[in-house]
């Protein structure tokens, strides 16, 4: 146990990653494009923020080159800001400009109270067991807005990477002003909280911050309850569709919060079923047919098995 951190990302790391999300800003001052870290420019100026960025990405890159490559190609020149025109910027830069009062942030449509309460309604009434759907694939936003939806297309030199990169969350532009209402993106909680904390006055255009905050709390609670109950299906008897927990549409922060618990439950169920599973395997090896008798343990055990194979 050299590293005492639990597996998976911590909340701080998740919210750090969430700062890669693109948000739409309305600049209040002119600003030339900034040359940020990119593949061709791996050594940034030693400002603290960029240093940290650089260190984080580079160490990340060493461990997960495939995962990080899109991030690297995505870095580079920010578009120049000209006051009345909207631009998409990464959240961290947008918040920085916001704090310096050089830009206003246009909150995404899904943060509107009407959209949030629609999602709450969907989560509680229409589909009380599943999580609400993630936003649809980005191609739709692309078609409507070919010139602007994805910044890396303007850069020219990274076009080869765009095809693959479009699919990963920071490139889906799910938090810009063009993002569809009624869908929670992967980083919904982080982005919403940061926007409410640092750009509360911009969010006030949508509705009162208190209302938005209240709806967000409702959503967090509803989804936490679902996450709790999702583990119940692991204990389901034979015949029902037990053992499968669909986590589609769950946000990054919720995953970070519940990872320890869910993995603990799955591991516990696996350990309880281990002996029945061993018996069943023996039986299969010996006679090729387990027959009845061990059925009670079956549905769940197959599931646990595959979990084990994945090394969870």
């Amino acid at each position: 146990m050299a590293l005492s951190l639990p597996p998976g990302l911590t909340h701080a790391e998740v919210s750090f990653l969430a700062e890669m999300e693109m948000v739409t800003v309305v600049p209040r001052q002119r600003l030339d494009s900034i040359d940020l870290l990119s593949v061709s420019n791996l050594f940034p100026h030693p400002t603290s923020r960029h240093d940290f960025f650089f260190f984080f990405f580079f160490s990340f890159f060493l461990f997960f080159p495939k995962l990080t490559f899109p991030f690297l190609s995505f870095q580079g020149r920010t578009p120049p800001l000209r006051p009345p025109h909207r631009t998409d910027l990464p959240l961290w830069l947008a918040l920085l400009l916001k704090k310096q009062r050089r830009a206003n942030i246009v909150p995404p449509a899904w943060l509107h109270p009407a959209s949030l309460s629609e999602i709450v309604h969907r989560e509680t009434k229409e589909n009380p067991t599943a999580f609400s759907e993630p936003p649809p694939a980005p191609s739709r936003a692309d078609l409507r807005n070919p010139g602007r939806a994805h910044r890396q297309q303007q850069q020219g030199n990274t076009e080869t990477a765009t095809g693959a990169a479009l699919l990963s969350p920071p490139f889906r532009a799910s938090c810009t002003a063009d993002a569809p209402a009624g869908y929670l993106p992967y980083h919904w909680l982080e982005v919403a909280e940061s926007l409410l904390a640092f750009a509360g006055d911009d969010c006030a255009a949508l509705g009162s911050a208190g209302e938005i905050r209240g709806l967000l709390r409702d959503l967090v609670e509803v989804r936490a309850a679902k996450m709790r109950d999702s583990t119940k299906t692991l204990g389901a008897e034979e015949g029902s569709a037990g053992g499968v927990v669909s986590l589609r549409g769950v946000g990054a922060m919720e995953l970070a919060e519940n990872r320890g618990f869910v993995l603990g439950v799955v591991d516990g169920v696996r350990r309880i079923g281990a002996s029945a599973e061993a018996t069943r395997r023996e039986e299969e090896e010996n006679g090729g047919g387990g027959g009845g008798g061990y059925g009670a343990g079956r549905g769940g055990d197959d599931e646990e098995d595959s979990d084990e194979d994945m090394g969870i």
């Binding site: 639990p6 709790r228 519940n258 990872r259 320890g260 618990f261 309880i272 002996s275 343990g297």
Partner: protein, 200 residues
């Protein structure tokens, strides 16, 4: 389970009722009769690690007898299993055994109790979601509880779980306590992050 896992070691020390099948000389002190051999048919509570060995080991006798046969320990007795079937949440597992699930999985390894396995699994997942609920709610308003598991009483719980919740948490066995700790740490980290977001 690692070699140094304290919980595994303590689980191995749980006693289970065994019946000796052979007469064994010089072991009479196990039955408080130090001068006589231990008679066949004597019931003795043996720790799990020893009972496990004796049950598996072969005596070499022609009729293939083992040294001992064992019964399910009291923690897994029929009345407990029936109570678990009725309502898993109402049974304080810790009163049965601090290492209830550990003991139970060992018993499942040794015996062919398929029903016990499914009852246990249902118990575990049902209680798990309850545990998660409590873990989220414990100390939800004030952070004075410091999050050290059960020590953090229901301060500021807005669920009305109150003393009933405390009783439930007291009845958690070691597996469930670690589950509680994980769930609570996740929820606590989430709350701390939300509170601190303004500061950075």
């Amino acid at each position: 389970m690692s070699y140094y896992d304290v919980d595994a070691i303590l689980t191995d020390a749980e006693k289970i009722p065994c019946t000796f099948q052979l007469e064994i000389p010089d072991l009479g002190y196990l039955d408080n009769t130090p001068t006589q051999p231990l008679k066949a048919g004597t019931k003795v509570n043996l720790p799990l690690w020893l009972a496990e060995m004796l049950v598996i080991a072969n005596t070499g006798a022609a009729d293939n007898k083992t040294f001992v046969t064992f019964d399910l320990p009291r923690a897994l007795a029929n009345d407990v299993v029936q109570a678990l079937k009725a309502d898993p949440r109402a049974v304080p597992l810790r009163d049965q055994s601090a290492h209830f699930y550990g003991l139970a999985t060992h018993m499942l390894d040794l015996s062919e109790e398929q029903e016990l396995g499914s009852v246990l699994r249902k118990t575990f997942v049902t209680r798990a979601s309850e545990i998660s609920l409590h873990a989220r709610k414990v100390g939800s308003v004030s952070h004075k509880g410091k999050g050290k598991g059960e020590g953090a009483a229901e301060m500021g719980s807005n669920l009305g779980v109150g003393s009933a919740g405390e009783d439930f948490l007291r009845g958690l066995d070691e597996w469930e306590r670690s589950l509680f700790r994980k769930a609570h740490e996740g929820a606590k980290a989430g709350k701390e992050w939300i509170e601190n977001i303004k500061k950075n």
